[in-house]
């Protein structure tokens, strides 16, 4: 297999809040095209870790490299322009703007970055493309706040997709979704992964097992184990810390 340079690397990434070490010298490597799930008990530092990666909070120590470049000092909005998109753990959309306008802001961003202004036709095309992937294209003018919660989460994913990211970070995306919605979500992520790398924080184990190429297990701010789903399932330390005793499912 040819050596592919990793898309995302962190070296000794650390974040402290006063006396608490939320992320503890994490070394992390993510090759392009992979679907990586990050799991762990509550308080393990998963959201803090991805917040450090996407730039929402600054690290106390360590380095972050994206596609070979050191982005540690880069502010969040510049990282987004480099190709990192993030959907929030608690859905964060523009409640008072229409579904169309929500996604338009992402499409507008990519059009501006490409230069040449924002022609209306290109904007519309981009919005429709992103929304049809999450099956929300029939509700363009609805105020986003009026959508059901599950659909709001999908809208946020569409906003991330419309940025045409190279790395899409999803923070507990299936929380609050019905079983049927989760099923179509899994299909969506598989389709996304054909063009982008996906980093996924999840508590829903069936989803993790179905989607992940590899799993990183975090506990107490550090990486406990890393490997394929089967390897993680069989790992005794992980079972003890997180999944329960070997007898449980």
């Amino acid at each position: 297999m040819a050596a592919v340079s990793p898309l995302l690397v962190t070296r000794g990434l650390t974040r402290r809040f006063g006396g608490l070490t939320a992320v503890d010298h994490v070394d992390f490597t993510l090759p392009p095209g992979e679907i990586r799930a990050v799991i762990g008990p509550n308080g393990a530092g998963k959201t803090t870790f991805v917040s450090l990666v996407c730039g929402r909070i600054p690290p106390s120590e360590g380095r972050i490299l994206f596609d070979g470049d050191d982005i540690t000092a880069l502010p969040a909005h510049r990282r987004v322009r480099r190709g990192i998109a993030y959907t929030f753990q608690i859905t964060s959309i523009f409640q008072n703007l229409s579904v169309f306008d929500n996604v338009a802001l992402s499409v507008q961003r990519t059009l501006i970055d490409r230069g040449g202004g924002v022609p209306a036709r290109a904007l519309e095309a981009g919005v429709l493309e992103a929304l049809s992937r999450v099956h929300l294209a029939d509700r363009l003018d609805l105020p986003a706040g009026k959508l059901a919660y599950g659909h709001q989460r999908l809208l946020e994913v569409a906003m991330g997709l419309a940025l045409q990211p190279r790395l899409l970070i999803l923070d507990e995306p299936t929380q609050g979704l019905s079983d049927a919605e989760i099923e179509s979500f899994v299909a969506l992520v598989r389709e996304i992964a054909q063009r982008a790398t996906v980093l996924l924080i999840e508590h829903n184990m069936p989803v993790v097992m179905a989607l992940a190429d590899r799993i990183t297990v975090m506990s107490n701010g550090a990486v406990l184990a890393e490997g394929t789903p089967d390897a993680i399932r069989a790992d005794a330390a992980v079972q003890q810390a997180y999944l329960g005793s070997p007898g449980d499912g």
């Binding site: 929030f88 964060s92 523009f94 703007l97 961003r109 970055d113």
Partner: protein, 320 residues
Amino acid sequence: MRADTTARVVALHLAVVAVLAALFFVLPDYHRGVMARVLVLAVFAMGYNLTFGYAGLLSLGHAMFFAAGLYGAGLTAYHLGWSVLPAFGFGIACGGALALVVALLALRTTGVAFMIVTMMFSQVFYLTTLYYTTYTRGEEGLVLGPELRTIGLGGWTLELWEPATRYFIAVALFSVVFLATMALARAPFGRGLVAIRENEERMRMLGYDVHRAKLSAMVLSGLSCAVAGAAYALLFGYVGSSFASIQYSILPLLWVLLGGAATTLGPLLGTVFMFYAVDLTSGYTSAWLLVVGVALILLVLFFPKGVMGTVRRKWLPWLP
């Protein structure tokens, strides 16, 4: 989708300008003067609207930008004998420069702290105009003589105190800023500001440079307010400290709230209405600020979207 509304929007705005111009021929003399004043103050309100309405930053210090234009134009004309156009330009530049400096400092704070910081910077500006009373004559102010308010263009002479000239220049200035605000509100920049106001963190995570957007909004805002200030000095010939006082930071807030924040038409409506309301009241009592106080409380309690904001929400969603 958006293409459908452009024609309507542009037509509406041009119609407003046409009505304002035509009004001159209908109004009696006294009201021609009042409307000229109102239009210049409406430019001030539109400038404030950029910061407060579109960017969502409650500044309590915008008097300093208006006053920067006022004094920039007034002092250069009065003490240095500058002619109208250079004085006007200088006033605008002063406002822009001040806005940049203030924004760089004030945008390090948010919410209540931002309000207090802007209020305090404006207060320092006001106190400065009082302190250097040898140049500014403080509250008493400076009166610009007619020779300072004349523009010579080729063989033509424009006398700025002449009612018709003054009125139409006011309309022209208003129209420029009005149409510019319309264009800005519908452009990606304007829509970006509104979105930042809605959910700043989300905008940042969509790749937008939120700080730069707010900074630009404030500088544009300061420039517009300075346009109004410089125009006021040259059209009405008076430059005084009271225009830098906190009252002139609160009045545009009131005008914009009443007319409808983050709408293009709101500032004009609010300014016209409140100006006449105050004019009427001060005919009866010297306590006309009471009207301002009551209006502010009623607005914020029952009518926070203002007139055009409510119209837009209920009937005409395409209004910028």
